[in-house]
Symmetry: C2
Subunit: 362 residues, 2 copies
DNA sequence: TTGTACGCGTTATCAA
DNA sequence: TTGATAACGCGTACAA
């Protein structure tokens, strides 16, 4: 009954008793055709269940209508949501998304980019370890393929959908100062390979200096250390003087909360913790997590929109940073030593409202 | 300097002073070539930064090395993790993943499938509302394109990576019975369009009957209702007699926890709640969520593996269900009325250990 | 209004 | 060992 091979426009033309060019014109509404042949072609196409081959089309038109997307991992909801936003935006403009994740591996980043390039993607959405040094990313540029980064602070050569990591981190320093903290730490995963993490630290350190806080201690840990509360506790107990820790993402902040009791410290009385990202979970926790709230889906959407203008031949200018919000939470209070009569450890509000980056810049 | 157009094998052949066929053989190591020409070709290719066009290849070989993936949403970590698992597995075998999400919309499901088909995907990984009635899915079958479902209970025509929704739900009924609950409810989102939800309800209801519990009340809600605690509380307060609720996923279960206080009921003393999926968050909550724990990443991986055998021409047999675990949590205890001296509402352990599907079947 | 023929980048065939 | 050529499915220039 049904032929098990692909139905091509040639088959349709044959069945409709016309040439392929005519069938193409009818099916694409791209040229003249008599009402009668139009009917015959459309009928045949419908009957046979004809669908265009995007491959043949891509080869001919040099447009694959496909965008490549490279991210560290879909297991992190921050990235998954960004991809979700980008996908929706692109699909509504006829583009499909080729998605691959690197598991935070530098070499895999470039392997994936090379593969995506060979797939003839029309554009690229990228979050990776080292965009500046990536050969395949430079090749994309050389081939005039629009690229938009996500999550990265803007780089000289590449537009990026982002929140200002430095400004957001500075706000954390401000909050710590408001609550009376003086000795703080910055807890980072993959510090050397993540410009996002480094920029957060830089912004944090600069603002600490501006506020006359002690220079923050940088505490780098591995994934294993992060996932093992006892080990994390040990690492943290090397810094008994710190009263507040800024974790470079929410998962790390939550890990600190779990590790704190193991070193005999209570959050927030003995140790305040602030995260980054604002994942939904943070709200639902026993002690709601104080954090910088971002909007990953909007970020993906913005990146996609910029890419679309690039795809249409427009100029891709540097993107304005997306807004972030400092979200107050039960993991941040004044340090016990500094306020001896505050034994309960309940979060005390500082005299200023939570900061929102919207307040500063549109 | 650099030409802004794609470098093809023709360019390489020209530069190496040989024919395209020879260049192809060298670059693919697919045929004979003298050491000397081999060197010239490889050198030219490297110099010019040549990469094969997967499009040209796909057209010629009728293999796109691309797999289409349709899921409801990447914003749900359960699906995102499954995609992550599948992507890793497929990439290690040279396949790329074309990902699209439908936002749980029936029509979009089919639109996306049609698009993926036109992209000449070699295989399909699918979670959708109504696989049985999908025309494009049937077309995939007609074109001999391997398809593996994810999350769906096995259907007559399609293999599916899954946990047994009915068995898992039955285990929840068993737990409720152990704790002395008699009047239970099943809270569902998109009940009519989700076979997963329906199968959970069926399994739950059947086991309730087997255990002489009252038939569970089916409570269907909309997304809006789920996201607004006050409304959800109102909906739930229509069922004051229920002492335990089985929510069709963890997010719903968490929503119930948030809504309960609004109707003056405490979890778990006045109302026990059990979820489904076992998302990481549940563990970290104030009251850890009792739930059915599943392994979405393994599910994606399994689906990908099956698909790979199909891609290699092997037979895709029905898949054994993946293991699930009942995870005890602080949201489940005995009903207050049934154990009047248990005012604290602390979870009391029943006399049997938590169930794991591994115990029953390999 | 219609159809023929070419080229997109690749690989397989086949003759040299 | 090599290279010319056909074919994959499509859109389009061009001729009819």
């Amino acid at each position: 009954m049904t032929d098990r091979t692909r139905i091509t426009i040639k088959d349709v033309a044959l069945a409709a008793g016309c040439g392929v060019a005519t069938a193409s014109r009818v099916l694409n509404k791209s040229g003249p055709a008599s009402a009668e042949t139009r009917a015959r072609v459309e009928d045949a196409a419908r009957r046979m269940g004809f669908v265009f081959s995007a491959t043949g089309r891509a080869l001919q038109s040099r447009k694959s209508m496909t965008v490549g997307c490279l991210i560290p991992s879909l297991a992190n909801p921050v990235f998954a949501e960004a991809v979700q936003g980008a996908q929706e935006e692109l699909r509504s403009h006829g583009y499909q998304l080729l998605v691959a994740s690197s598991n935070y591996d530098d070499e895999t980043d470039n392997d994936i980019l090379t593969t995506l390039l060979s797939k003839d993607v029309d554009g690229l959405l990228v979050t990776m370890a080292a965009p500046q040094e990536s050969v395949p990313l430079a090749q994309a540029r050389a081939r005039d393929i629009p690229v938009c980064l996500m999550f990265h602070d803007p780089l000289p050569d590449w537009p990026s959908a982002h929140v200002s990591n430095a400004q957001a981190a500075a706000e954390v320093a401000r909050q710590f100062a408001l609550y009376g903290h003086e000795r703080t730490g910055f807890l980072a995963l993959r510090f050397s390979t993540s410009d996002r993490s480094r920029n957060r630290f830089d912004g944090f350190r600069a603002q600490c200096a501006a506020l006359n806080l002690a220079p923050p201690k940088l505490i780098e840990i591995t994934e294993t250390e992060a996932n093992t509360p006892s080990i994390l506790a040990q690492r943290l107990s090397n810094h008994p003087d710190l009263t507040a820790i800024f974790a470079s993402n929410d998962f790390l902040a939550i890990a600190v909360q779990k590790a704190a009791p193991l070193m005999g410290r209570h959050v927030p009385q003995d140790l305040s913790v602030v995260g980054f990202d604002g994942i939904e979970v943070g709200r639902l926790l026993d002690r709601s997590l104080a954090t910088i709230e971002t909007t990953p889906e909007a970020m993906g959407r913005q990146a996609a929109q910029t890419l679309l203008t690039g795809l249409q031949g427009g100029a891709m200018t540097e993107l304005a940073p997306l807004p972030f919000t400092f979200r107050a939470g039960a993991t941040l209070s004044g340090p016990r030593a500094k306020s001896p009569d505050d034994d309960r450890g309940a979060a005390q509000s500082p005299s200023v409202p939570p900061f929102t980056s919207n307040d500063k810049q549109g």
